[in-house]
């Protein structure tokens, strides 16, 4: 029987999952202890088979009241794609104004996942914002 302790990252509870499985980890073979909710079980299986993470980073903005807008992948992407996705976003420059939710990339690093803006940046010419 394989055994691993995994901290669930899906919510601040951070449950310490005791994960056990025989052979290939599957929905049937994986046993999870220590999860306070059902999400912990699917998280444990995902961690064993294809760990995923959300990338949050920033992109330069031209003509804005701030130099950077922050962005995120709308859903988690394979963990091994995170650094590649970051490198693809690094050279990009957006033109102000940028709005929350604005799509920056449709399919980042062939993950099929969108990258969207998470912090608005007004244009320098705009009157003072809120």
């Amino acid at each position: 029987m394989n055994h691993r302790v995994i901290t669930c990252i899906l919510c601040p509870n951070g449950c310490e999952l005791e994960v056990g499985w025989d052979g290939e980890p599957t929905t049937q073979s994986v046993e999870v202890l220590g999860n306070l909710c059902a999400k912990g079980i699917s998280y444990a299986l995902d961690e064993l088979t294809h760990p995923e993470r959300t990338l949050t980073t920033s992109i330069r903005v031209r003509g804005g009241v701030q130099r950077l807008a922050s962005v995120k992948t709308v859903s988690p992407i394979p963990r091994e794609a995170v650094v590649a996705a970051r490198e693809l976003l690094q050279p990009m420059v957006l033109n102000a104004p940028v709005a929350i939710g604005q799509v920056v990339v449709e399919d980042v690093a062939r993950t099929g996942v969108q990258v969207i803006v998470t912090r608005a940046v007004a244009s320098q010419s705009d009157p003072e914002q809120s």
Partner: protein, 415 residues
């Protein structure tokens, strides 16, 4: 020159999660509310917290810091709050008079109730006294976060992080993504001070070593950090001779704790708690100064913005009621004390009055523990309890008790 003094029911000082939530809650009860913030963009520290993990509690979805802030700015705007950014409060009188400076101009306003929500600042190197020169390359984790996420400044290539607070852990991952090499995270305590999930997704994912029971004992380099000496510390907090090793780095981040920013409160006569460095409050979050309320990180350091905002909502609602003449808290002398007992570091509120019917207590344990029972005792009776699978000082715990059950001072303990 006579200046116009604007009158409000409630004035909130500070536009982070707690302040925005307090203002929105007070305004949605019909109060005329002003919110004053010194920065140009509302949202406080959330603007630089571009990582996700916010909002699960408040909105049922996972948001980044700026998105979480935006939700609360909209809530406050929709509720009709008068939002005044770029405005620094320079003095606050117990009578409710507030003097501010806005683009160098003096502004005055008056409110029947005031909510303090100024947040916190970071502990700095001076406060933890590391020997060595003062070379460039030493930053607090929050400053590094601001430089990296908002100012587009690269802070270094080889980074050591002292302290395992959440901002330090988040920055370990962030700097790794930015192409820097994070050599190690050093923590003086035998356990990490950040949330377990951040240990997992920020350190384990990138195989960044975490040295527990260690601290930086010397910073080398004259103009720029060149290396740091790290030593192991024993249970009594003394460095173990011969345990030193050096780490070559050009940058040292300090993530060694946060302190409520209470200069303004103190000058208004607000009494502070020695453990939390925040105000002492009653169940309605009113301080010892009638009409002045406190919430969020200026009251006690929170692990989650969601909790700070929720606390803000409760404080804002109490402030609106106070402005209407409904007082939830009695004067300090007539209140029943709430104390932190065995294994508990502090409890908010520190007192409660019989004019409320229940109180939600927020507290922290002193050290990590496995299965734990939290009990609230009053007189000889147990008036509330909760079971936890594990308890960690990084994680705030809450427990609600009924006032009618009280038979004297309340003590919260764990075993």
């Amino acid at each position: 020159m006579t200046e116009q003094i604007r009158e409000f029911d409630v004035a909130v000082i500070g536009g982070g999660p707690a302040g925005l939530a307090a203002a929105a809650a007070a305004a949605s009860q019909g109060a005329q509310v002003a919110l004053i913030d010194r920065n140009s963009q509302l949202g406080g520290i959330l603007n630089q917290c571009i990582h996700d993990g916010f909002g699960l509690h408040a909105f049922g979805e996972v948001l980044t810091g700026p998105e979480f802030a935006d939700r609360y700015v909209r809530r406050a705007t929709d509720a009709g709050v008068f939002l005044q950014s770029n405005t620094l409060v320079t003095s606050l009188a117990p009578s409710g008079e507030i003097i501010c400076s806005r683009y160098g101009q003096r502004k005055q306003l008056r409110a029947k109730a005031i909510v303090l929500a100024m947040g916190c600042r970071e502990r700095t190197r001076g406060m933890i006294r590391i020997p060595g020169y003062r070379p460039a390359g030493v930053y607090t984790a929050g400053t590094a976060q601001w430089l990296t996420n908002l100012a587009n400044v690269r802070i270094g290539r080889r980074v050591v992080i002292l302290g395992s607070g959440d901002i330090g852990l988040i920055m370990a991952r962030r700097l790794t993504w930015e192409g820097a090499e994070v050599i190690a995270v050093i923590e003086k305590l035998p356990y990490p001070s950040g949330l377990p999930r951040n240990i997992n997704q920020c350190l384990l994912d990138y195989e960044i070593p975490l040295h527990l029971s260690h601290s930086v004992t010397c910073i080398h380099g004259k103009d720029r950090v060149e290396r740091v000496t790290v030593s192991r510390f024993d249970e009594t907090g003394t460095p173990v001779a011969g345990s030193e090793f050096d780490l070559v780095c050009d940058t040292l981040l300090l993530s060694v704790g946060l302190i409520p920013e209470n200069e303004l409160s103190r000058r208004a006569g607000v009494v502070l708690d020695r453990t939390t460095s925040g105000a002492t409050v009653g169940a309605s979050y009113m301080t010892n100064v009638p009409g002045i309320f406190s919430c969020g990180n200026v009251l006690h350091i929170h692990d989650l913005a969601d909790w700070a905002a929720e606390e803000g909502e409760r404080a804002g609602a109490s402030a609106a009621k106070y402005a209407e003449g409904i007082h939830g808290d009695a004067v300090v002398e007539e209140s029943i004390p709430i104390r932190a007992g065995d294994g508990i570091r502090y409890v908010i509120p520190q007192r409660v009055s019989r004019s409320t019917d229940q109180v939600l207590m927020s507290f922290r344990v002193t050290e990590p523990r496995g299965k734990t029972t939290i009990r609230a005792i009053s007189g000889k009776a147990m008036i509330g309890s909760t079971q936890l699978n594990k308890a960690h000082p990084a994680t705030m715990v809450q427990l609600r008790i009924q006032i009618e059950d009280l038979a004297g001072p309340v003590e919260v303990t764990c075993s």
